[in-house]
Symmetry: C2
Subunit: 325 residues, 2 copies
Amino acid sequence: MKVAIYGYGNLGKGVEIAANFAEDMELFGVFTRRNPDSLKTLSGAKVLSADDILKYKGEIDVVIICGGSATDLPTMTPDLAKHFNVLDSFDTHAAVPTHFENVDKAAKEGNNLALISCGWDPGMFSLNRLYASAILPDGKDYTFWGRGVSQGHSDAIRRIDGVKDARQYTVPIDAALESVREGKNPELTTRQKHLRECYVVVEEGADLERIEQEIKTMPNYFADYDTTVTFITEEELRANHSGIPHGGFVIRSGFTGQNKEHKHIIEYSLKLDSNPEFTASALVAFARAVVKMRSRGDVGCITAFDVAPRDLSPLSNEELRAHLL
Amino acid sequence: MKVAIYGYGNLGKGVEIAANFAEDMELFGVFTRRNPDSLKTLSGAKVLSADDILKYKGEIDVVIICGGSATDLPTMTPDLAKHFNVLDSFDTHAAVPTHFENVDKAAKEGNNLALISCGWDPGMFSLNRLYASAILPDGKDYTFWGRGVSQGHSDAIRRIDGVKDARQYTVPIDAALESVREGKNPELTTRQKHLRECYVVVEEGADLERIEQEIKTMPNYFADYDTTVTFITEEELRANHSGIPHGGFVIRSGFTGQNKEHKHIIEYSLKLDSNPEFTASALVAFARAVVKMRSRGDVGCITAFDVAPRDLSPLSNEELRAHLL
């Protein structure tokens, strides 16, 4: 199957690596909104102008859209779904229903299949919330994120006057995790679930006390959390905080038995050295499913919820049953 | 949807409780090979003779078969699949391909849909092996079982001369689990992964040393493991070992990045107070999917690999996307 990448940031690079590793896939090329001549790909995949993509209609089995959720994907995904089978990693949870409708309309118009919100949350975490709640309907779900870098929170710190650079880690609080794992079904406040660690590089002569206060009291981002602020040098930031790790936990605790006397804990966790490369790997597996499902006649918009797991694998159904069941 | 239970042991009772909890299901009744008059169900569900089940053809949407894998299911599931949509929890991994073929033929003959090998392993553990290997193809899978009661191993001990009763726990070894979680991709022997704890009640005057030796040297069951044998009284067995807990871990550790420089750990774990009731809860969720899929025209044999997760839930696709994605 011929796979194209649309957008070449960290996510697009991750897709390139993962698609090259897949023996049943051929990388058609990378489409960029930048000047194609200015861009050199990791694997030597050819670079094409995003403006020209319609010229390749019919030559590409699926386009993996590697844009941002805030401004790119809401228009990019429906626009491309009119002409290609597509996937995106749209992750603004509250806006999913609207995005779904727009993409569904466009994909049906073009007789294509589009999968949105692929990755780990939304994505693998969503799937685990669904499986666990279907099997243990009498229970409670908990999602914890981290330890990992939040790009949005790091950006928010960078916008503060006197800040040169910053890295923010979201950290799940052990005591909360443990109480969930023990099946105590606690009611947890925002502050009890996660804390926020900030590593901040400032301009020379900046007012450290003011910056720390601005961070800790920032509404939505930090005010509801226990937040630590550590000032470090640019060198320390580069040496110790250049990665983009992330991960987290989805835990469901539920009950069975005539008198709810039996407790069950289902836990799914991810510990990821590279958030974008893991998301990219999920996109590539689900791209395989999109191509298979489209070849069976499916069109419109779908999510990971609609994909039979066997379609994610390059193995045959017989091999899967013999070796993984 | 009308759900029938075929077989009324621990698993059948678990299905009864779970199906009664599901608002979209109605329990048609329990079919038993025993004398129906001798059997009283937990919820008052009506009891019918297994011999009469064909009389109810057309009145039941799905039959959940709660028999054993060794002797019941290999014939029971194909026989019933000729006349009803069915599910079973067939768990003899090596015999899955043969069982699948037999059930597939029968189900197609009867124009029915049959799902086999539902539960947690095979079942949820299989699904997690599949998802994880599709997303991280460059990696390694590990499955650990326990801490939990192994019925087969407990039975093997009970067959030893002088043994009145026994309970065997399979226990994953922490050091092995930790080394997998750290992404070290170790090669582990059988002995390094699990140990076996045996609690044994003996006849008066039995030769404890001989029994302990017979257990520890029993081929296939214990010889390849570090095994502890603890002799206890019947009262202690009843007081401390009457539950049927189980669980375990599926962990995949894999790599991404141009030079495989990024490590990722996916871990799925279950901690179950009641092995049969959890399996029953999985059967009930997948029974819902079987009915939905059959109503869309699917026939033949399938496994959990073939089920789009949305079909497991009583919620609509819109609700799932809005609340769980």
